[in-house]
């Protein structure tokens, strides 16, 4: 599969030339394939939020390039604007960006800015609302009278409606309860399946990352520390823990089992997988 998003040796320095100068991203290179679903993991301050704001041209790199479909997005003002629409970026707590009188109008804001005709906008608004689990009668309500979880859905639908080729989400499940997290997880999957979109999401939760993504990119101190399939990344469980990242509880159970002398591998990160392995070891399977 071809690469849709390529980051070449990207660095970003905040407040360059002042005493507050800070290198937030340091020489990151990445290639993301079309249709991939990747999780970007790291501490607060590891540079992940800064990095993703380069993908749609909101931040300009101090060094390096960002290519979408092989083209440099910073070539001109028009290419930057095109990148805004090719890469849909959902910020943390996106419900705080809602502003319109009705849910419908708010979802239509992005597509409207793209200059689409009203029939197309209408189709997109309705389809995105449906994917994000927003009932028809909610569309005419004010976004401010909705519950926190519903507002989050509206904000997601607002980006879905732009039908970006790459969907980038900064902690889409932050602050939600387990049921809310499950919902958001499902909406993103559903959207991806319908449109074949590439998805990159930032998360703090290794458990969410392990469950949702087929590729994990772990950042530390502004650079990429590990990049691979969940199995490849969790094979480095000790390193992850040493750098202060949390690994799923089952992974820790397996690390402990190995210390206790059980012949198990630690590249285990979901409960069904763990159960399967233990049952096989026991000879039940």
């Amino acid at each position: 599969m071809e690469n849709i998003l390529v980051v070449e040796n990207l660095s970003h320095i905040y407040s360059a030339g002042t005493p507050f100068e800070k290198k937030a991203v340091d020489g990151v290179s990445l290639s993301v394939r079309r249709g991939e679903i990747a999780a970007l993991i790291g501490h607060t301050g590891s540079g992940k939020s800064t990095l993703i704001q380069h993908f749609n041209g909101l931040l300009r790199p101090s060094e390096g390039r960002v290519l979408i479909n092989g083209e440099d997005i910073f070539e001109s003002k028009d290419t930057v604007r095109a990148a805004r629409f090719a890469v849909g970026l959902v910020f943390q707590y996106p419900e705080y960006q809602l502003f319109e009188e009705t849910v419908y109008k708010d979802i239509a804001f992005g597509p409207g800015n793209m200059g689409l005709d009203s029939a197309e906008i209408d189709r997109r608004v309705r389809e995105s609302a449906q994917i994000a689990g927003i009932a028809e009668d909610v569309l005419e309500k004010s976004p401010f009278e909705l519950s926190g979880g519903q507002k989050r859905r509206v904000a997601l639908a607002g980006i879905f409606a732009m039908e970006p080729e790459v969907l980038v989400l900064d902690e889409p499940m932050a602050g939600l309860d387990p049921a809310g997290r499950e919902d958001v997880f499902r909406f993103i999957k559903e959207y991806k399946e319908r449109h074949g979109t590439t998805v990159i999401f930032v998360t703090h939760s290794m458990e969410d990352a392990a469950r949702m993504a087929e590729r994990l990119i772990v950042m530390r101190g502004g650079s990429v520390m590990l990049d691979g399939t969940p199995a490849e990344v969790f094979a480095h469980a000790e390193e992850l823990i040493a750098s202060g990242l949390d690994v799923p509880q089952v992974t820790r159970v397996f690390m402990r089992l190995r210390e206790l002398g059980a012949p198990v591998d630690t590249a285990v990160y979901t409960v069904p997988q763990a159960a399967e392995l233990l049952l096989r070891l026991k000879g039940v399977r």
Binding site: T44, S205, L260
Partner: protein, 281 residues
């Protein structure tokens, strides 16, 4: 142990009208002094509404709430109750008043009219208790989320309350911030004997408490030690809540003929239980 919080058939509705939707219905709950109780439930279960009754932010529609023997409906006791049950909220940014950490921690003492020399001592002790002494002169907006939340806790501690009520204090924090706050709270409970009521939707935080109360649609539906609660895997899942992965794993193995306890909340206990399982042919 004496009970420090007691609710008697507490009902609450935001709507005064007869027959309106009850947010809390007929809650009879008693918390012992020195306990660490986690109130678990998803959004809309009424858990935050319940917490707001312990601090007289809300008053019961019917029934009564007693805090350290004082009826919260007694307007004369308002300050005494609020000084007994200190409250920490979800968003650390929206509860810090001053532009310097120690000034903020002093805020409640200043309002209580505590003499200056004693404020100093209380502020220092409170900052020490949450491990924020070195940040006393810092500006709050430059701190991390976990640090801000610890400052907010210190601000409540300076009132020298008997109870710490926390309404989803970690919901907006990253994992390291959550760990910072949980460790500070556990230490206060263990070392100072502070009663803690922690409202949360994170089951891993609830697993660290001594007692877990699960709420659903304004009612208490489960109540017991974390082991008692989480070992009822089907029941917890019905309430669309999760159980710790250790329990989930043991449950999955039990489905294939194993007979594990489902009471192992720590990695260590779970690993030992599984070793026994693997060894016992």
């Amino acid at each position: 142990m004496p009970e420090i919080i007691k609710t008697e058939s507490l009902c609450f509705s935001y709507d005064e009208e007869e027959g309106a939707q009850l947010v809390l219905s007929d809650i009879g709950l008693s918390v012992e002094a020195g306990d660490f109780v986690a109130v678990l439930g998803h959004n809309g279960s009424g858990k935050s509404t319940l917490a707001k009754h312990f601090n007289v932010i809300l008053l019961p529609t019917s029934g009564a709430v007693y805090v350290d023997g004082m009826n919260t409906a007694d307007a004369e006791r308002l300050f005494a109750i609020r000084g007994t049950a200190g409250m920490v909220f979800q968003n650390p940014d929206n509860q810090i008043v001053a532009t310097v950490v120690e000034e903020d921690v002093a805020f409640a003492c200043e309002n209580m009219g505590v003499p200056q020399a004693e404020i100093r001592a209380r502020v220092d002790a409170a900052l020490e208790a949450v491990g924020m002494t070195e940040y006393a002169r810092h500006a709050p907006h430059l701190l991390s989320g976990g640090q801000k939340q610890r400052v907010a806790i210190a601000g409540v501690l300076a009132m020298e309350p008997k109870i710490l009520v926390m309404d989803e204090p970690t919901a907006m924090l990253d994992p390291s911030g959550r760990a910072e706050v949980m460790n500070a709270v556990k230490k206060l409970n263990r070392e100072k004997g502070l009663t803690v009521v922690l409202i949360t939707h994170h089951m891993d935080e609830a697993a660290q408490a001594r007692r877990v109360v699960v709420m659903e649609r304004g009612k208490v539906v489960m109540d017991g030690t974390p082991e008692d609660v989480f070992s009822q895997v089907e029941r917890v899942r019905e309430l669309s809540l999760a159980v710790p992965q250790t329990v989930e794993l043991e449950y999955a193995l039990n489905a294939h003929g194993a007979n594990l306890s489902l009471r192992d909340l720590s990695v260590e206990d779970c690993a030992r239980e599984i070793m026994k399982y693997l060894g016992a042919d």
